[in-house]
Subunit: 226 residues, 2 copies
């Protein structure tokens, strides 16, 4: 019953389609990068772990595209505006080696998940449920944490480089997110539309602070200075 929800409003619906499309293209893109990293894995166990992460990223893409269609959008048209920013993010953060791949897989995936989970809280229950489903933890984080910590123990000097790498990932993600937000008013509008939730631009700033804090916690978990 679309009529009884905020989804009846065309502007709101357009904003939701934008979020679902950004998430879908993000997952397609993460799938491709992780599969490429899996190909370069130094061992079979590493390869399987990274391929498993790639497959998990892709597993909800079809559900997202189906929902975009259901809401009256065309998947290809909907995804197109996000290709450039997400492709640029990956082009600017191409891992130089296996450990940069691992840190990116862990930190990048979790950062995107945090962001979309925060966004989902401001949206209607149906959209929130779908986004939450797409962000179900794939249980591969422990593998990455263990591998990176072992590597640092074995060769402490890589910690400095990987810490810088983590900061670069965060910086590039924020820079691309701001670029998308500046181009797509619909994304801000849909977040601030729900007056009951009291979400406004001040809240948005706090959201980014929370994302940064959680990123720092993850960097420390990896044994890296945030």
């Amino acid at each position: 019953m679309v009529e009884s929800t905020p989804l009846a409003d065309q502007d709101y619906r357009a904003g939701v389609i934008d979020f679902l499309a950004a998430l879908a293209y993000g997952e397609i893109s993460a799938f491709e990068r992780l599969a490429e990293d899996a190909r370069k894995a130094p061992s079979l166990a590493d390869k399987l772990a990274l391929a498993g992460m790639a497959v998990a990223e892709f597993s909800h893409v079809n559900a997202l595209l189906a929902r975009i269609t259901e809401l009256g959008g065309d998947p290809v048209t909907a995804l197109t505006p996000f290709e450039q920013a997400i492709d640029d993010f990956h082009a600017h953060t191409a891992p130089a080696d296996w450990f940069e791949s691992l840190v990116k897989a862990y930190v990048g995936d979790a950062l995107a998940a945090d962001f979309f989970r925060e966004v989902a809280h401001q949206l209607d229950p149906e959209t929130r449920a779908l986004i939450d489903l797409c962000l179900t933890d794939t249980g591969h984080a422990d593998f990455v944490v263990q591998r990176v910590r072992d590597a640092i123990e074995h060769e402490p000097r890589i910690a400095g480089r990987l810490a810088l790498w983590g900061r670069r990932l965060m910086g590039e993600a924020l820079s691309q997110a701001q670029r998308v937000a500046a181009e797509r008013d619909s994304l801000i509008a849909v977040l601030t539309a729900n007056r009951e939730s009291g979400f406004d631009l001040a809240e948005l700033a706090k959201l980014f602070t929370r994302l940064t804090e959680r990123h720092s916690v993850r960097m420390r978990t990896l044994g890296l200075d945030p």
Copy 2:
């Protein structure tokens, strides 16, 4: 109850582990190539179809590795002897463009499935059930057939090149299969072990004839001279 089956025999078990390992490495490798091809897809629909095929290839790898362990094998040790031949197959059949990727995805996957299904018929019921599960049709073949037929209709001259490509895929697959068979006596031994089935080397030759015939049927389905 391993004791009551041919799996109680150590040589037979070693042969089964070899087949499961070859299948597992083949699927990991197919996953990686299809994911790479998906990255280069000319459209979002193409990308999704190929990524879906990649994910389907990977979906049974963990079950195969778990079974290898259950039979007393070590997955990494078991897969290693097949890496070279399968990697060489892919290195010698790197698609030059999108349509070569599609034909390879369709023809290569089906050829491997035919081979392992034939092999499974000669093996114990448990192994057969696992292999059959791994070969469940992923339903992406129709997409490939339609795309290739459309392309040929639109540009008939590519049919000659793609027909040659199909023959090269088949030739390279046979050549690598023979190389593996020559190095791994266990594979032939396990196939001919079951005297009830009457499978012997003459049967093996017939098996390869059947594989070639089915390959020809698929080439014609694509609109290509076999």
